[in-house]
């Protein structure tokens, strides 16, 4: 049986959903050991068992929350060296990427980023990766070494609990965190709250781009979102311009969303954006430019002015709801 180690990252003491998605996939590949580092680690074991972890290694230490990447990379590196799993799988989050990059260098192992299908038979690893903004699916493998490192983006797999949860064996990690790993110190955490459902979870996403002309016009999207219980997203251009926070960004360097309906408002549909939203079941696009690439794959495309159509749509929905 293959040994799969999954780094189950915490966010505010809770295991991140991407970890449950990865464990769901990993349980079909072999025996799953989840590693949880940070405050509240031990409390997550039962949840991880529900998704298929048979063993949970925990280290409840504040250093993982206070210092970037090095404490977690050190602990995981030592674990991999002693446990020698066949795969170490990490979720593609900001922290996950930093930690994986350090592990890649430390372990001198290969890494596959953005794995979206994984098969492992004996020693034969085959991973499917979308390349070139998901226009090409490439089958890759990693050669050499014992442990292979994979990164998996959120939403690559569905998180499905087992009908019969496992009761994982919980083990405390004893390794101390060295002073040399306590260098990049987090002095403050700022959470920028947005109303309504979270972008990654919402069944309706309304995204805005340059076509909104100015930051203030994002309020039109908020009003529409309020009527359909949707979340508001954005293209990279307007995030870089500072109209909305980074947490709004959908696309290659932002979030991947898979809502039932994605309404693109004033977004041309650059490939770096569409890679984050084309998993939507239906796409509605509003854009003044009839040649905008987004019309090539929108289910309903409207050539027109977002600044007129969006408020009219909000009004229309309000009326229909009575």
């Amino acid at each position: 049986m293959s040994k799969i180690m999954v780094f189950a990252q915490l966010n505010g003491g809770q295991v991140q959903k991407v970890a449950l998605e990865i464990i769901t996939k990993a349980r079909s590949l072999g025996d799953v050991t989840a590693v949880v580092l940070g405050q509240g680690a031990a409390g997550q074991a039962a949840l991880l068992g529900q998704y298929g972890a048979s063993r949970v290694l925990v280290h409840d230490d504040t250093a993982y929350d206070q210092f970037l990447s090095e404490p977690a990379a050190d602990t995981l590196g030592t674990l991999v060296e002693t446990e020698k799993p066949d795969l170490l799988i990490v979720g593609t989050t900001y922290d996950g990427r930093d930690i994986a990059a350090r592990l890649n260098a430390r372990l001198d192992c290969g890494v596959i980023t953005d794995a979206y299908e994984i098969s492992l038979e004996g020693d034969n690893l085959k991973v499917q990766v979308p390349w070139y903004s998901a226009t090409t699916i490439v089958d890759v493998t990693l050669q050499g070494g014992i442990t292979r490192l994979l990164l998996v983006k959120p939403k690559s797999f569905a998180a499905e609990p087992l009908e019969q949860p496992l009761q994982p064996q919980v083990e405390q990690i004893s390794a101390a965190i060295s002073d040399s790993a306590r260098r990049a110190q987090v002095t403050e955490n700022v959470v920028q709250k947005s109303e309504g459902p979270r972008l990654e979870e919402a069944s309706v996403v309304i995204s805005g781009g340059r076509g909104l002309k100015q930051a203030e016009n994002f309020s039109l999207l908020n009003e529409l979102a309020g009527q359909v219980n949707g979340a508001v997203g954005a293209s990279r251009a307007v995030v870089d311009a500072g109209w909305v926070p980074y947490s709004y960004q959908v696309g290659q360097t932002g979030k991947t969303v898979k809502p039932s309906v994605y309404i693109a408002c004033g977004i041309s549909g650059a490939i770096q954006h569409t890679v984050g939203m084309k998993g939507a079941k239906y796409i509605v696009a509003i854009n003044t430019d009839p040649d905008a690439p987004i019309f090539k794959f929108a289910d309903l495309g409207v050539v027109g002015d977002v600044l007129k159509i969006v408020p009219a749509l909000t009004q229309e929905i309000k009326q229909r709801k009575g």
């Binding site: 990427r97 930093d98 980023t113 260098r183 039932s260 409207v302 229909r320």
Partner: protein, 260 residues
Amino acid sequence: MNIVVCVKQVPEPTGTNRLDPASLRIMREGVDSVLDPADEYSIEAALQIAESQPDVNITVVSMGPERAMEAIRRGLAMGATKGVLISDPALAGSDALTTAKVLAAAIKRENPDLVLCATESSDAYTGMVPGGIAQHLKMPLLSYAKKLQVSGGKASIERQTESGFQKVEASLPVVVTVTGSINTPRYPALKGIVQAKKKPVDQLTAADLGFSPDQVGEKGAKEKVLGWSPAEQRKAGTVIKDDGTAAVQIADFLAKLKVI
């Protein structure tokens, strides 16, 4: 203070990259290549530090084919002090692991206080190189910076997170990755472009940095491509021109999907 900025020459990112079916690498023939726009932010960040304090040297480092010299020249035209180009046929086909190793070896020679990188390149998007460099150079990594301040032997950043941002700091030397919201990169002035041609650029091979040809490039890469297929593409639906009824038509569509 010595600042090193890592840059990369990439296929024009607004185009669609294609796989060369023969080499299974990025198709570079017949495609315009440019300094990765993501790197312009790190060069600009370095220039702003140099303008706010005395005695700052900015070295632009790139590993790539000969044409990566264009990326270095662009960085020099923006105002960097000198360049280092690591170019060697033996390096062709290197993966992120090797790239980080080779870049780290070249950066070390510059005795840097600060290493600046983009969070990821706009062609391969692995994001594995900056963290790898930090690990090899035994430096802390301040990543995803949307603000950067360097003073008193310390770097402080605002780091973007899934739900907002966090303030993070570390003593120099440090590796920092910057996002597109950190600044507005300047456009090189004509004077800068002329001066750039006279600025020194060191040219290094893999051997100069202590790597044998079988450790790097295609031979040293752990990642192997087995095969590929085009991804399934979505098809176009209905496109209408707004005649004043667009809002009603969209509402009808949403009603059909039971969103409203």
